[in-house]
Symmetry: C2
Subunit: 254 residues, 2 copies
DNA sequence: GCAATGGTTCGGCAGCGGCCGAACCATTGC
DNA sequence: GCAATGGTTCGGCCGCTGCCGAACCATTGC
């Protein structure tokens, strides 16, 4: 067997707690070692080795050897999107009250990476701001950058490339599991993330998906997007763009 | 247990041959009965009943009772997108030669529905034509309708709605598993499909994803998109838009 | 009422696959 | 050379879950 032959095989690979935990950890966008992944999944090294072998075989993960360590990473954006899609379905209609609080830390809910872009409260806030200003349009099916958005984002430092060329200019919605609303993914989302890191507005936690906002970021984000993060829990999220149809959860602020 | 709690559960549901077969059958967009699904998956009614119960419980499927029959359908576009995503990953890099020929009929490869839009050779040909004319832009991350595209598609009869409203105007790429190239999904894809059916250009096979092109369709598709379908195998596909990076298969015309 | 049809429930069987620890291999550093 | 570290392979155990047929229930049609 080389590479997964069909949906069943792929889905079955994701459909195991240990493997899914590893994949979720790797959705942070960083490469992690086998041992690190084993400890995240709380399984023995031997078990982890077996799982990782399968995932690499099926081309869901890539490995690179560096000195004594093997670093695993998500093999392609296609895989990342698949995982997003599964997560989005899984998050549907699970009433908030059933989700034990602080499962995976409030900081994770506040700001994290989602493969190559920003998610969590911060991600959604940025999306809200861009929508409110008319810079982008986001909905269930897709997203678009408006003319003003092209100007704004270019000025911000995003490399949007030639629109005509058809090469990765895109803006894609990604359903945020913690906020249950859309944040910006696709090339635009990745560029926003990159620019924020580059300016020192954000810093990534070591070996984690958690993103922290620096003091400079507090100021920068407020000036650029009008986002005020000082009261951590959130500046009232404007209902500007598409939300899940059924709000079964009891929306406790966050 | 009501509704799937996490990715693992959802993926595990898809990660079983019988259930995946049923889901794939339902990706045709039509609702099917329990017995029909059991026979598609080649399992007993009792086994099918168990599987369908799980899928409904997890909110992947919806049921509606009609007389003596229970009709199952994909519960939401989100689920459909998830399945597309898994399929896309599964289709990666599986050399064509490994895929037994005519598994599922050449007609399926030629033209079929993919939930609410067109796929197969026909779907890709339409996408190619629209891209070549500059009506849409398609790439890995997303798609866009150009100004000329808005005019063209409106004239074609597609209800694109107010661009500003942000309501389902979108054009999304969907990786075609048989062609390994993108076809048009999202609202635009669904509208094109709808218009073609409405004009009598296409007809759906009963209880199947297969779509047949009527004589009127032959003419209409040629006039509207410049697609010539008389030589079934295909008018040389222009390499106009995004293809999979690695072409491991030996592209035998199709 | 009865027969036919569509679907579900139950009990029992069988096999896949996850898990671990121990042994093993390879690389690094001394 | 040796010890330490990171990872893989192997063997054996165990439990989950898919499968079926038979019985059962509900609706339809006569």
């Amino acid at each position: 067997m080389v590479a997964a032959a069909n949906m069943v095989e792929v889905a079955a690979l994701v459909g195991d707690t240990a493997r899914a935990t590893m994949l979720a950890a790797l959705m942070g966008g960083q490469a992690l070692t086998a041992s690190e992944l084993a400890s995240r999944a709380r399984i023995s090294k031997s078990t982890a080795s077996g799982h990782l072998g399968k995932l690499v075989n099926a081309r869901l993960l890539d490995v690179t050897q560096k000195r004594r360590n093997r670093y695993y990473r998500i093999a392609s954006p296609l895989v990342a999107r698949m995982l997003e899609g599964i997560k989005a379905v899984a998050a549907i209609e699970v009433p908030q009250r059933y989700q034990p609080r602080s499962i995976g830390d409030d900081r994770l809910r506040f700001a994290r990476t989602c493969y190559d872009h920003l998610a969590g409260h911060l991600g959604v806030a940025i999306a809200d701001a861009l929508v409110a200003e008319g810079h982008i349009v986001l909905a269930e099916d897709g997203g678009e950058v408006t003319v003003s958005g092209m100007n704004f984002l270019s000025a911000f430092g995003a490399a949007l490339g030639p629109k005509a060329g058809g090469r990765r200019i895109f803006c894609r919605p990604c359903l945020d599991w913690s906020e249950r609303r859309y944040h910006v993914a696709g090339h635009v989302g990745a560029e926003i993330h990159r620019c924020c890191l580059e300016r020192g507005w954000l810093r990534r936690d070591r070996d984690s998906r958690i993103v922290r906002v620096t003091p400079a970021g507090q100021v920068g984000l407020r000036k650029a997007f009008g986002i005020d993060l000082r009261g951590n829990p959130a500046p009232a999220p404007s209902p500007a763009h598409g939300v899940m149809k059924k709000r079964l959860w009891t929306s406790p602020g966050e």
